[in-house]
Amino acid sequence: MISDLFSVTVLVGILASGIRLATPYLYAAIGETFSQRSGVLNLGVEGQMLLGAFAAFYVTLTTGNLWLGLMTAMLVGALMGLAMAYVTVNLQAQQGISGIGFYLFGLGMSDLLFQKLMGTVETVKGFPKIHIPGLSDIPGIGEIFFSQNILVYGAYLLVPIAWFVLNKTTLGLKIRSVGENPDAADSLGVNVGRIRYFTIILGGILSGVAGASLSIALLNVFQQNMTSGQGFIAVALVYFGAWRPTGVLGGALLFSLINALQLWVQVLNIPVPSEIAVMMPYVLTILVLVTSVSKVRAPSALSKPFEREN
């Protein structure tokens, strides 16, 4: 019953699950944070994740090399980002619509390649759990923090790196200024187009890694539409996290931990209808969002194409 939720096994289980579940969200949402801070809304994340997931899986399946799989996913994500950057920066297309186009492209293309190249669901041996002598053996803590795979650690390491780059480097300053006031940035000699190319491609690479984290680290299978909306949740998490890497981390963890909690609620036979249980992460995330009124506003130039005045 309810009190069962407070046993050590359950708490350890929830924390370990939550940390794993948050991994793909972190990669994708941090990437999206970069592109949104530079003023570009990329709704194609889901499609980039799917193609990244397939690329990583297929290369790993055929070559047996996980790192090659991961790098292919990054390359595929970068190419998707490059195409997106061309469409939004050079062609100045409406970003929401073109993003959905890229999503549908990724969804259809990953499915087509899966059908033609594989034809059935298969498994690979993914990135193994890392065993850290001593630390991994600490009861509870060891299982939660010190026995995950390398892509899980990478996702959490990315948060302080992204924070540092955005807030403490010249590059970060340029990204933020391009997202707030591209005209002013341009007049000071910042190449708006180049900065946006950089952030969109970076976002694509990280989305590719997000997909790979599912297909060759956490699940080790590929299936059509296996991301099942995670890319869109990642975009929402950027808003939730108020365009800050730490905020994104908080949102991703909140959503994932509650998801892990609801799995346990059902497993422990706590009498809550399954329909209510699976709603919990969404409902609570929205509740937190509406009750914690944020003073942070969106980057001023978000989703506005930049046209240089002559």
Partner: protein, 333 residues
């Protein structure tokens, strides 16, 4: 906030949009003796689950009837969006297919609207028993509680911890029948065992299905089962933890040959052949069919590569026999 509201709406809307690729081949005018079937399915033909069970059955029927020249199959897969499926069903009917199969209970209300417009076309809808009283609609379903029960009896005999985990999509229809039957099977053989059921609320969220499996294992389960196409994520976790798995809908042994003990496989051809015979005799619908263990529409396939095969095989056969001859009665909650 305004922007977020807009985005949230978009996100919710998009989560409903799913791919509509992989449409069937363009039909060519066929000689009269060729029987032409079109099928619309919610997931992929190789999902190792619901859609694959129908596709594999159609291929077997095709083989029996003399190959593609005698029996033509076209399909639309990944029709998650009911409106797209409805358009495809209408399209196939317009093109004059002899039998148009709507393979998903969610397509019912669309079919109810479309079927009366094409009185000379036969439609089949599953899984359900409802033909809407229409003379050109067949209904079909699987008694998936029967195979679930057999799997449950085997699971009860093989568990050491007496804790068994179940992963389902949404608590309704075929999935609920299977899960309830499985639970009844376990408890009939081992009344003290604990069956933990987890419906994850999605047919496609592989990551959540995997985490549900991990959760069951952490809660002490040493045997898992699950239904619908997203369970491939869970099978991977079961394999990692060396926990036994029971499958349903299609044979899932290929995915994890060491841990899959048995799968309940749907052989829809039993049902399809009856429909085809009726259609060729001039009856276009109005009847409902059930695939079950007795008529061969459901088969328990014990995995020969499993190291408990020698033990599981006779137990499965005895249980199947008991269900067929009526000595075993399955009581669902």
């Amino acid at each position: 906030m305004k922007k977020f509201a807009w985005l949230l709406t978009l996100v919710l809307a998009l989560s409903l949009v799913l791919s509509a690729c992989g449409a069937g081949a363009t039909p060519t005018p066929a000689p009269v003796e060729k029987f032409r079937v079109a099928v619309v399915m919610p997931s992929a033909i190789n999902d190792l689950a619901f859609s694959q069970s129908m596709y594999d059955a159609l291929v077997r029927v095709q083989k029996d009837m003399g190959g593609p020249d005698k029996f033509e199959i076209v399909y639309s897969e990944n029709m998650f969006v009911v409106d797209d499926a409805a358009a495809a069903i209408r399209d196939y009917a317009t093109k004059g297919y002899d039998l148009v199969i709507a393979h998903g209970s969610q397509y019912g209300s669309s079919l109810q609207e479309i079927a009366p417009d094409f009185p000379d076309t036969s439609f089949a809808w599953g899984t359900t028993v409802d033909t809407f009283g229409l003379p050109n609609v067949f209904a079909y379903e699987a008694a998936s509680q029967e195979g679930g029960y057999v799997n449950g009896v085997l699971a009860a005999a093989l568990t050491n911890t007496d804790v068994i985990g179940v992963i389902g999509p949404i608590e309704t229809g075929d999935a609920k029948l299977y899960v309830d039957g499985f639970k009844a099977g376990v408890l009939s053989a081992k009344p003290g065992a604990q069956v933990n059921v987890n419906y994850i609320g999605s047919f496609s969220d592989t990551a959540l299905a995997a985490e549900a499996a991990t959760t069951h294992i952490a809660a002490g389960a040493d045997i898992l089962t699950g239904t619908a196409q997203m369970v491939v994520g869970a099978i991977g976790k079961a394999e990692e933890a060396n926990v036994l798995w029971f499958g349903t809908q299609s044979n899932q042994s290929s995915l994890a040959p060491k841990i899959v003990v048995a799968s309940q496989v749907y052989h829809w051809e039993v049902v399809l052949k009856q429909m085809i015979d009726l259609i060729q005799g001039g009856t276009l619908g109005g009847q409902s069919f059930t695939a079950n263990l007795a008529n061969g529409g459901e088969v328990i396939e014990v995995n020969p590569d499993s190291n408990v095969f020698d033990y599981a095989k006779p137990l499965a056969e005895d249980t199947v026999k008991g269900i067929i001859d009526g000595s075993i009665k399955i009581t669902l909650p």
